[in-house]
Assembly symmetry: C2
Homo-oligomer: 221 residues x 2
Amino acid sequence: MREAYHDQLGQLADRLADMCAMAAGAMESATTALLEADLGLAEQVISNDAKIDDVRASIEEQAYALLALQAPVATDLRTVLAVIHAAESVERMGDLALHVAKAARRRHPQQVLADDVKPYFAEMGRIAVKLAGDATEIIRTQDVDRARALEDEDDAMDDLHRHLFSVIMDKEWAHGVASAVDTTLLGRFYERYADHAVSVAKRTVFVVTGRMPGYGGDENV
Amino acid sequence: MREAYHDQLGQLADRLADMCAMAAGAMESATTALLEADLGLAEQVISNDAKIDDVRASIEEQAYALLALQAPVATDLRTVLAVIHAAESVERMGDLALHVAKAARRRHPQQVLADDVKPYFAEMGRIAVKLAGDATEIIRTQDVDRARALEDEDDAMDDLHRHLFSVIMDKEWAHGVASAVDTTLLGRFYERYADHAVSVAKRTVFVVTGRMPGYGGDENV
């Protein structure tokens, strides 16, 4: 009985990891769509988002059923709750990739981004996808040390995000208001995505250690 | 024994309602600070945010203890889970009010907003605070019909947010790039805040009915 229960718990974590990998793939494609004004790729991300939402709904349902039927305690309880929370964060990551793809579609065939900010987005995209990939592995392996290392990547994202702002706000900005607005929102989408990926990893640490590493602030605009 | 347990559950919901009222107050003050360049009020919102975060941490702890010690089922289980989720959303609402206050502080003694967009923010602020106040009442009363009515308020917020964008993106925009960027982010903070307030109310509906009204999308940039 308990055996079957642990199988279900493992299955739940596997599905969460799969979902996180989907969100990583969505952001990778969305970034390419953005940088290369690739409409087909943008459309693909947009239509695939519903799949991520479905996986989330089904993970949550399965988690609730586990809680109700098995009344887990201690680490098992923490695992189920962490999965519910993490699934919510991963769904948001999917939504943010969707926003990026929609921006690419909205301006097509024009480029959304001015050439001088593209390198920022190439790098923010790389970090975002790496963070989501790392979070996927951390869910699978429960590797606490690796989860802690994500903070550095997230700091790199925050630095890029800050630099990007100084570029947009600079008096030399020559691309007009509409482009500044698009660039501002897109920058925020990447920064939020990274934040959610880190929070997914932190939840995993919580499961293993029973202590949540400091959380509570989203101090980065 | 069960009696004491239901007292604890009621207490938990009360604390969540108090926390939601704090987030409403934070947004009300932050909006005034923004519209009137009131530094003292901005500082107050900024320093009070830690209190909201503390309440959230303590609600989550209490909820986990309830789950672990009492292993609730059915409606009780759903209530505890809804509280955990809602506390996360309310903490985000506090963070968003914090961002508004920080924008007011950053530009002080200058005004952040151009005169022609101020009415948008006065109205978005009013709706945001009303939604948070309504969510507070819904947590206290479990009034399902009232929760459904929040959707209309949220639609009004989305409309304002869309109009605001068309003002910023208009060729007539005369306030420069930096102001457009600030205005864009601030608009998004209000829109996200409203979204979270509605999701708190929806979670309450879920507790009462066992069915989550359609969720999954944040379709509004």
